[in-house]
Protein backbone atom coordinates (compact mmCIF):
# COMPACT_ATOMS: atom_id res chain seq x y z
CA UNK A 1 0.00 0.00 0.00
CA UNK A 2 1.18 3.46 -0.81
CA UNK A 3 2.43 5.38 2.15
CA UNK A 4 0.72 8.53 3.36
CA UNK A 5 3.45 10.71 1.95
CA UNK A 6 3.14 9.17 -1.50
CA UNK A 7 -0.60 9.73 -1.51
CA UNK A 8 -0.14 13.34 -0.49
CA UNK A 9 2.27 13.90 -3.33
CA UNK A 10 -0.06 12.34 -5.84
CA UNK A 11 -2.98 14.45 -4.68
CA UNK A 12 -1.02 17.64 -5.05
CA UNK A 13 0.28 16.67 -8.48
CA UNK A 14 -3.22 15.86 -9.75
CA UNK A 15 -4.39 19.16 -8.34
CA UNK A 16 -1.78 21.11 -10.25
CA UNK A 17 -2.61 19.25 -13.45
CA UNK A 18 -6.19 20.22 -12.87
CA UNK A 19 -5.16 23.84 -12.58
CA UNK A 20 -3.43 23.66 -15.94
CA UNK A 21 -6.36 22.04 -17.73
CA UNK A 22 -8.71 24.54 -16.18
CA UNK A 23 -6.59 27.43 -17.41
CA UNK A 24 -6.38 25.88 -20.89
CA UNK A 25 -10.12 25.48 -20.96
CA UNK A 26 -10.65 29.12 -20.13
CA UNK A 27 -8.12 30.28 -22.71
CA UNK A 28 -9.79 28.08 -25.32
CA UNK A 29 -13.18 29.50 -24.41
CA UNK A 30 -11.94 33.04 -24.91
CA UNK A 31 -10.27 32.15 -28.19
CA UNK A 32 -13.32 30.26 -29.33
CA UNK A 33 -15.47 33.33 -29.08
CA UNK A 34 -13.04 35.27 -31.20
CA UNK A 35 -12.67 32.47 -33.74
CA UNK A 36 -16.41 32.10 -34.03
CA UNK A 37 -16.80 35.80 -34.57
CA UNK A 38 -14.28 35.92 -37.35
CA UNK A 39 -15.81 32.85 -38.95
CA UNK A 40 -19.12 34.64 -39.03
CA UNK A 41 -17.60 37.84 -40.34
CA UNK A 42 -15.85 35.96 -43.09
CA UNK A 43 -19.01 34.39 -44.35
CA UNK A 44 -20.39 37.25 -46.52
CA UNK A 45 -17.24 37.30 -48.62
CA UNK A 46 -17.29 33.64 -49.54
CA UNK A 47 -21.04 33.69 -50.08
CA UNK A 48 -20.88 36.66 -52.41
CA UNK A 49 -17.96 35.10 -54.22
CA UNK A 50 -19.91 31.92 -54.70
CA UNK A 51 -22.90 33.81 -56.00
CA UNK A 52 -20.93 35.74 -58.54
CA UNK A 53 -19.23 32.60 -59.78
CA UNK A 54 -22.57 30.86 -60.11
CA UNK A 55 -23.94 33.73 -62.14
CA UNK A 56 -20.84 33.80 -64.27
CA UNK A 57 -20.69 30.12 -64.98
CA UNK A 58 -24.28 30.25 -66.11
CA UNK A 59 -23.29 32.95 -68.54
CA UNK A 60 -20.76 30.70 -70.18
CA UNK A 61 -22.43 29.01 -73.06
CA UNK A 62 -19.73 26.76 -74.36
CA UNK A 63 -18.31 24.51 -71.70
CA UNK A 64 -15.31 23.68 -73.83
CA UNK A 65 -13.96 27.17 -73.50
CA UNK A 66 -14.55 27.31 -69.78
CA UNK A 67 -11.42 27.72 -67.68
CA UNK A 68 -9.87 24.45 -66.56
CA UNK A 69 -10.28 25.34 -62.91
CA UNK A 70 -14.03 25.16 -63.42
CA UNK A 71 -14.41 22.28 -65.82
CA UNK A 72 -11.40 20.21 -64.76
CA UNK A 73 -8.76 18.64 -66.91
CA UNK A 74 -11.15 16.04 -68.21
CA UNK A 75 -9.27 13.34 -66.37
CA UNK A 76 -9.51 11.81 -62.94
CA UNK A 77 -6.15 10.20 -62.39
CA UNK A 78 -4.18 12.22 -59.92
CA UNK A 79 -5.83 13.39 -56.74
CA UNK A 80 -4.41 16.14 -54.58
CA UNK A 81 -5.65 16.22 -51.01
CA UNK A 82 -5.10 19.20 -48.78
CA UNK A 83 -5.45 18.07 -45.18
CA UNK A 84 -5.92 20.96 -42.79
CA UNK A 85 -5.15 20.31 -39.15
CA UNK A 86 -3.98 22.31 -36.16
CA UNK A 87 -0.46 23.13 -35.08
CA UNK A 88 -1.06 22.36 -31.45
CA UNK A 89 -2.18 19.24 -29.67
CA UNK A 90 -4.32 18.69 -26.59
CA UNK A 91 -7.52 19.34 -28.43
CA UNK A 92 -9.35 16.05 -28.10
CA UNK A 93 -10.28 14.22 -31.24
CA UNK A 94 -9.97 17.25 -33.46
CA UNK A 95 -6.99 16.18 -35.55
CA UNK A 96 -7.73 12.48 -35.38
CA UNK A 97 -11.20 13.01 -36.81
CA UNK A 98 -9.89 14.84 -39.84
CA UNK A 99 -7.18 12.28 -40.39
CA UNK A 100 -9.66 9.43 -40.08
CA UNK A 101 -11.88 10.98 -42.70
CA UNK A 102 -8.94 11.68 -44.95
CA UNK A 103 -7.54 8.16 -44.62
CA UNK A 104 -10.81 6.59 -45.75
CA UNK A 105 -10.70 8.82 -48.80
CA UNK A 106 -7.03 8.03 -49.46
CA UNK A 107 -7.72 4.33 -49.32
CA UNK A 108 -10.56 4.67 -51.77
CA UNK A 109 -8.36 6.53 -54.22
CA UNK A 110 -5.49 4.07 -53.91
CA UNK A 111 -7.87 1.12 -54.31
CA UNK A 112 -9.10 2.61 -57.55
CA UNK A 113 -5.53 2.67 -58.78
CA UNK A 114 -5.24 6.43 -58.89
CA UNK A 115 -2.27 8.50 -57.84
CA UNK A 116 -2.46 10.25 -54.51
CA UNK A 117 -0.67 13.42 -53.55
CA UNK A 118 -1.01 15.08 -50.19
CA UNK A 119 -0.36 18.55 -48.88
CA UNK A 120 -0.63 18.94 -45.14
CA UNK A 121 -1.49 22.24 -43.53
CA UNK A 122 -0.66 22.28 -39.85
CA UNK A 123 2.05 20.20 -38.23
CA UNK A 124 -0.20 17.73 -36.37
CA UNK A 125 -1.61 16.35 -39.59
CA UNK A 126 1.86 15.76 -40.94
CA UNK A 127 2.88 13.93 -37.77
CA UNK A 128 -0.05 11.57 -38.06
CA UNK A 129 0.19 10.94 -41.78
CA UNK A 130 3.92 10.66 -42.33
CA UNK A 131 4.19 7.08 -41.12
CA UNK A 132 1.72 5.56 -43.55
CA UNK A 133 1.54 8.08 -46.37
CA UNK A 134 5.00 9.62 -46.07
CA UNK A 135 5.80 9.02 -49.73
CA UNK A 136 2.61 10.68 -50.88
CA UNK A 137 3.16 13.92 -49.05
CA UNK A 138 4.51 16.42 -51.54
CA UNK A 139 4.39 19.53 -49.40
CA UNK A 140 3.70 20.60 -45.87
CA UNK A 141 2.75 23.99 -44.66
CA UNK A 142 2.52 25.26 -41.15
CA UNK A 143 1.42 28.60 -39.81
CA UNK A 144 2.82 28.28 -36.33
CA UNK A 145 4.05 31.83 -36.35
CA UNK A 146 0.86 33.63 -37.28
CA UNK A 147 -1.35 34.14 -34.29
CA UNK A 148 -4.66 34.60 -36.03
CA UNK A 149 -6.04 33.07 -39.15
CA UNK A 150 -5.54 35.58 -41.89
CA UNK A 151 -6.32 35.72 -45.55
CA UNK A 152 -2.75 35.95 -46.70
CA UNK A 153 -1.90 32.58 -45.22
CA UNK A 154 -4.86 31.09 -47.05
CA UNK A 155 -3.78 32.85 -50.20
CA UNK A 156 -0.34 31.27 -49.90
CA UNK A 157 -1.87 27.80 -49.78
CA UNK A 158 -4.18 28.69 -52.65
CA UNK A 159 -1.29 29.87 -54.79
CA UNK A 160 0.63 26.67 -54.18
CA UNK A 161 -2.39 24.61 -55.21
CA UNK A 162 -2.99 26.64 -58.34
CA UNK A 163 0.64 26.59 -59.33
CA UNK A 164 0.64 22.83 -59.11
CA UNK A 165 -2.57 22.67 -61.09
CA UNK A 166 -1.14 24.79 -63.86
CA UNK A 167 1.85 22.51 -64.04
CA UNK A 168 -0.67 19.69 -64.51
CA UNK A 169 0.49 17.87 -61.42
CA UNK A 170 -3.02 16.80 -60.46
CA UNK A 171 -6.55 16.57 -61.81
CA UNK A 172 -8.79 16.81 -58.77
CA UNK A 173 -8.22 18.70 -55.55
CA UNK A 174 -10.05 18.00 -52.31
CA UNK A 175 -9.66 19.76 -48.98
CA UNK A 176 -10.27 18.25 -45.58
CA UNK A 177 -11.23 20.29 -42.56
CA UNK A 178 -13.54 20.32 -39.56
CA UNK A 179 -16.74 22.21 -39.81
CA UNK A 180 -17.75 23.93 -36.62
CA UNK A 181 -21.24 23.01 -35.52
CA UNK A 182 -21.07 23.66 -31.81
CA UNK A 183 -18.64 23.23 -28.96
CA UNK A 184 -19.28 19.50 -28.65
CA UNK A 185 -19.70 18.64 -32.30
CA UNK A 186 -17.33 19.29 -35.15
CA UNK A 187 -17.99 17.55 -38.40
CA UNK A 188 -15.02 16.54 -40.55
CA UNK A 189 -15.63 17.62 -44.12
CA UNK A 190 -14.26 16.80 -47.51
CA UNK A 191 -14.78 19.42 -50.15
CA UNK A 192 -13.76 19.27 -53.75
CA UNK A 193 -12.44 22.61 -54.94
CA UNK A 194 -10.94 21.71 -58.32
CA UNK A 195 -12.88 21.26 -60.53
CA UNK A 196 -15.43 23.40 -58.83
CA UNK A 197 -18.68 21.69 -58.00
CA UNK A 198 -21.64 23.92 -58.62
CA UNK A 199 -24.10 21.57 -57.07
CA UNK A 200 -26.17 24.26 -55.44
CA UNK A 201 -29.46 25.12 -57.02
CA UNK A 202 -29.10 28.01 -59.34
CA UNK A 203 -31.41 30.80 -58.39
CA UNK A 204 -32.03 34.14 -60.03
CA UNK A 205 -30.30 33.11 -63.20
CA UNK A 206 -32.39 33.66 -66.26
CA UNK A 207 -33.90 37.02 -65.44
CA UNK A 208 -30.68 38.93 -64.87
CA UNK A 209 -28.55 39.59 -67.80
CA UNK A 210 -25.29 40.90 -66.59
CA UNK A 211 -23.01 43.10 -68.48
CA UNK A 212 -19.49 41.79 -68.26
CA UNK A 213 -16.37 43.77 -68.56
CA UNK A 214 -14.12 42.20 -69.78
CA UNK A 215 -15.60 38.97 -71.21
CA UNK A 216 -17.10 36.29 -68.96
CA UNK A 217 -14.36 33.76 -69.44
CA UNK A 218 -11.67 36.30 -68.69
CA UNK A 219 -13.35 37.39 -65.50
CA UNK A 220 -13.90 33.80 -64.58
CA UNK A 221 -10.31 32.83 -65.11
CA UNK A 222 -9.30 35.66 -62.79
CA UNK A 223 -11.96 34.91 -60.27
CA UNK A 224 -11.50 31.18 -59.88
CA UNK A 225 -8.01 31.31 -58.34
CA UNK A 226 -9.36 33.82 -55.84
CA UNK A 227 -12.21 31.51 -55.09
CA UNK A 228 -9.78 28.72 -54.25
CA UNK A 229 -8.05 30.94 -51.73
CA UNK A 230 -11.41 32.01 -50.37
CA UNK A 231 -12.56 28.44 -49.91
CA UNK A 232 -9.32 27.58 -48.16
CA UNK A 233 -9.66 30.63 -45.98
CA UNK A 234 -13.19 29.62 -45.07
CA UNK A 235 -11.95 26.15 -44.17
CA UNK A 236 -9.20 27.65 -42.04
CA UNK A 237 -11.67 29.80 -40.15
CA UNK A 238 -13.99 26.86 -39.54
CA UNK A 239 -11.01 24.82 -38.50
CA UNK A 240 -9.76 27.32 -35.97
CA UNK A 241 -13.19 27.65 -34.39
CA UNK A 242 -13.47 23.86 -34.29
CA UNK A 243 -10.03 23.49 -32.79
CA UNK A 244 -10.82 25.83 -29.92
CA UNK A 245 -14.21 24.23 -29.37
CA UNK A 246 -12.73 20.79 -29.34
CA UNK A 247 -9.96 21.84 -27.00
CA UNK A 248 -12.42 23.48 -24.69
CA UNK A 249 -14.55 20.38 -24.29
CA UNK A 250 -11.48 18.14 -24.01
CA UNK A 251 -10.02 20.31 -21.27
CA UNK A 252 -13.37 20.50 -19.53
CA UNK A 253 -13.45 16.71 -19.41
CA UNK A 254 -9.88 16.57 -18.18
CA UNK A 255 -10.65 19.02 -15.39
CA UNK A 256 -13.63 16.99 -14.30
CA UNK A 257 -11.67 13.75 -14.37
CA UNK A 258 -8.91 15.32 -12.31
CA UNK A 259 -11.52 16.40 -9.78
CA UNK A 260 -12.84 12.86 -9.51
CA UNK A 261 -9.34 11.54 -9.09
CA UNK A 262 -8.57 13.99 -6.30
CA UNK A 263 -11.74 12.90 -4.48
CA UNK A 264 -10.82 9.23 -4.77
CA UNK A 265 -7.27 9.81 -3.63
CA UNK A 266 -8.40 11.92 -0.69
CA UNK A 267 -10.69 9.12 0.50
CA UNK A 268 -7.86 6.66 0.18
CA UNK A 269 -5.57 9.01 2.06
CA UNK A 270 -8.06 9.45 4.91
CA UNK A 271 -8.68 5.72 5.12
CA UNK A 272 -5.05 4.81 5.37
CA UNK A 273 -4.44 7.53 7.90
CA UNK A 274 -7.31 6.17 10.01
CA UNK A 275 -5.97 2.64 9.58
CA UNK A 276 -2.58 3.76 10.88
CA UNK A 277 -4.17 5.39 13.94
CA UNK A 278 -6.29 2.31 14.66
CA UNK A 279 -3.28 0.09 14.33
CA UNK A 280 -1.34 2.17 16.83
CA UNK A 281 -4.25 2.15 19.29
CA UNK A 282 -4.54 -1.63 19.10
CA UNK A 283 -0.86 -1.96 19.73
CA UNK A 284 -1.03 0.30 22.80
CA UNK A 285 -4.14 -1.44 24.19
CA UNK A 286 -2.82 -4.96 23.69
CA UNK A 287 0.50 -3.86 25.19
CA UNK A 288 -1.32 -2.49 28.29
CA UNK A 289 -3.41 -5.67 28.60
CA UNK A 290 -0.41 -7.94 28.64
CA UNK A 291 1.05 -6.15 31.65
Amino acid sequence: MASLDDLKKRISSVKSTQKITKAMKMVAAAKLRRAQESAEKGRPYSEKMNNIILNLSNGISDIEYAPKLLSGTGEDKVHLCVVMTSDRGLCGGFNTNIIKKAKIFFQKILDEGKTLKIITVGSKGYDQLKRVYGDNIIDRISFKDSKNVNYFDADKVGKIVIEKFEKKEFDVCTIFYNQFKNVITQIPQEQQIIPLKTSEEVENSSEDNYEFEPEEDEILSNLLPKNISTQIFKAMLENSASEQGSRMSAMDNATRNAGEMVDKLTIEYNRSRQAAITKELIEIISGAESL
Binding site: S38, K41, G42, P44, Y45, S46, K48, M49, N51, I52, N55, L56, N150, Y151, A154, D155, D208, N209, Y210, E211, F212, E213, P214, I219, N222, L223, K226, T230, F233
Partner: protein
Protein backbone atom coordinates in the same frame (compact mmCIF):
# COMPACT_ATOMS: atom_id res chain seq x y z
CA UNK B 1 -36.71 60.61 -56.86
CA UNK B 2 -33.70 59.86 -54.83
CA UNK B 3 -30.43 59.25 -56.54
CA UNK B 4 -29.01 57.01 -53.87
CA UNK B 5 -28.24 53.35 -53.81
CA UNK B 6 -26.55 51.00 -51.40
CA UNK B 7 -22.97 49.86 -51.32
CA UNK B 8 -21.26 47.06 -49.49
CA UNK B 9 -17.56 46.43 -49.40
CA UNK B 10 -16.41 43.10 -48.00
CA UNK B 11 -12.96 41.71 -47.48
CA UNK B 12 -12.21 38.15 -46.38
CA UNK B 13 -12.01 39.08 -42.71
CA UNK B 14 -15.17 41.11 -42.38
CA UNK B 15 -17.73 43.34 -43.94
CA UNK B 16 -15.59 46.41 -44.39
CA UNK B 17 -18.11 49.10 -45.20
CA UNK B 18 -21.81 49.32 -45.74
CA UNK B 19 -23.59 52.46 -46.88
CA UNK B 20 -27.09 53.27 -48.02
CA UNK B 21 -26.67 56.78 -49.27
CA UNK B 22 -24.09 56.68 -52.03
CA UNK B 23 -24.80 58.64 -55.16
CA UNK B 24 -21.82 57.67 -57.25
CA UNK B 25 -18.94 55.22 -57.01
CA UNK B 26 -15.93 55.35 -59.29
CA UNK B 27 -14.02 52.08 -59.45
CA UNK B 28 -10.76 51.23 -61.22
CA UNK B 29 -12.08 48.44 -63.43
CA UNK B 30 -9.72 46.34 -65.42
CA UNK B 31 -10.34 48.14 -68.68
CA UNK B 32 -10.56 51.62 -67.27
CA UNK B 33 -12.42 53.51 -64.63
CA UNK B 34 -16.16 53.05 -64.31
CA UNK B 35 -18.48 55.46 -62.60
CA UNK B 36 -21.61 53.82 -61.33
CA UNK B 37 -24.79 55.82 -60.79
CA UNK B 38 -28.19 54.67 -59.72
CA UNK B 39 -30.05 52.32 -62.06
CA UNK B 40 -26.91 51.23 -63.82
CA UNK B 41 -27.33 48.03 -65.78
CA UNK B 42 -26.34 44.87 -63.90
CA UNK B 43 -22.64 44.44 -64.25
CA UNK B 44 -19.83 42.21 -63.09
CA UNK B 45 -16.29 43.36 -63.49
CA UNK B 46 -12.99 43.05 -61.76
CA UNK B 47 -10.64 45.66 -60.51
CA UNK B 48 -7.04 46.49 -60.96
CA UNK B 49 -5.05 48.17 -58.19
CA UNK B 50 -6.30 51.70 -57.80
CA UNK B 51 -8.50 54.15 -55.97
CA UNK B 52 -12.19 53.71 -55.30
CA UNK B 53 -13.99 57.02 -54.93
CA UNK B 54 -17.29 57.03 -53.12
CA UNK B 55 -19.58 60.04 -53.30
CA UNK B 56 -22.41 60.09 -50.84
CA UNK B 57 -24.67 62.56 -49.07
CA UNK B 58 -22.32 62.56 -46.14
CA UNK B 59 -19.28 63.40 -48.20
CA UNK B 60 -16.61 61.92 -50.36
CA UNK B 61 -14.27 59.06 -49.49
CA UNK B 62 -11.36 57.45 -51.24
CA UNK B 63 -10.01 53.98 -50.69
CA UNK B 64 -7.06 52.13 -52.09
CA UNK B 65 -7.77 48.58 -53.30
CA UNK B 66 -5.32 45.94 -54.33
CA UNK B 67 -7.72 43.92 -56.44
CA UNK B 68 -11.35 43.02 -56.38
CA UNK B 69 -14.57 42.08 -58.03
CA UNK B 70 -17.62 44.26 -58.28
CA UNK B 71 -21.18 43.23 -58.82
CA UNK B 72 -23.98 45.70 -59.37
CA UNK B 73 -27.52 44.45 -59.31
CA UNK B 74 -30.87 45.97 -58.38
CA UNK B 75 -29.16 49.10 -57.11
CA UNK B 76 -26.90 47.12 -54.83
CA UNK B 77 -23.22 47.42 -55.40
CA UNK B 78 -20.98 44.78 -53.85
CA UNK B 79 -17.24 45.10 -53.91
CA UNK B 80 -15.12 42.13 -52.91
CA UNK B 81 -11.50 42.84 -52.29
CA UNK B 82 -8.61 41.22 -50.47
CA UNK B 83 -6.88 44.41 -49.40
CA UNK B 84 -8.44 47.81 -48.87
CA UNK B 85 -7.69 50.86 -46.80
CA UNK B 86 -8.96 54.37 -46.44
CA UNK B 87 -6.71 57.01 -47.93
CA UNK B 88 -7.27 59.18 -44.88
CA UNK B 89 -5.53 56.83 -42.51
CA UNK B 90 -2.86 55.34 -44.64
CA UNK B 91 0.23 53.90 -43.16
CA UNK B 92 3.28 55.08 -45.07
CA UNK B 93 5.31 52.15 -43.93
CA UNK B 94 2.72 49.65 -45.07
CA UNK B 95 2.51 51.26 -48.45
CA UNK B 96 6.22 51.10 -48.99
CA UNK B 97 6.12 47.46 -47.93
CA UNK B 98 3.49 46.62 -50.52
CA UNK B 99 5.38 48.62 -53.09
CA UNK B 100 8.59 46.80 -52.34
CA UNK B 101 7.05 43.37 -52.72
CA UNK B 102 5.43 44.46 -55.96
CA UNK B 103 8.75 45.68 -57.29
CA UNK B 104 10.40 42.44 -56.31
CA UNK B 105 7.73 40.49 -58.12
CA UNK B 106 8.17 42.69 -61.15
CA UNK B 107 11.87 41.99 -61.30
CA UNK B 108 11.21 38.29 -61.72
CA UNK B 109 11.58 37.24 -65.30
CA UNK B 110 8.87 34.66 -65.83
CA UNK B 111 5.77 36.74 -65.23
CA UNK B 112 2.99 37.09 -67.72
CA UNK B 113 2.18 40.37 -69.45
CA UNK B 114 -1.00 40.66 -67.50
CA UNK B 115 0.65 40.40 -64.09
CA UNK B 116 3.28 42.83 -65.25
CA UNK B 117 0.60 45.28 -66.25
CA UNK B 118 -1.15 44.89 -62.91
CA UNK B 119 2.06 45.34 -60.97
CA UNK B 120 2.99 48.43 -62.95
CA UNK B 121 -0.42 49.84 -62.16
CA UNK B 122 -0.04 49.05 -58.51
CA UNK B 123 3.31 50.77 -58.20
CA UNK B 124 2.07 53.80 -60.06
CA UNK B 125 -0.97 54.20 -57.85
CA UNK B 126 1.01 53.67 -54.68
CA UNK B 127 3.54 56.26 -55.76
CA UNK B 128 0.83 58.77 -56.41
CA UNK B 129 -0.66 58.46 -52.94
CA UNK B 130 2.56 58.18 -51.04
Amino acid sequence: MSEEYSLEIVNPEKSFLSKNDVTEVVVPAFEGEIGILKDHISIISFLKPGIIKIYSKSGEDSYYVNDGIIEFKNNNLSILTSLIFNLKDIDKQKISEIMKSAEEELSKSEISDQTKYLLDQKIEVLKSIN
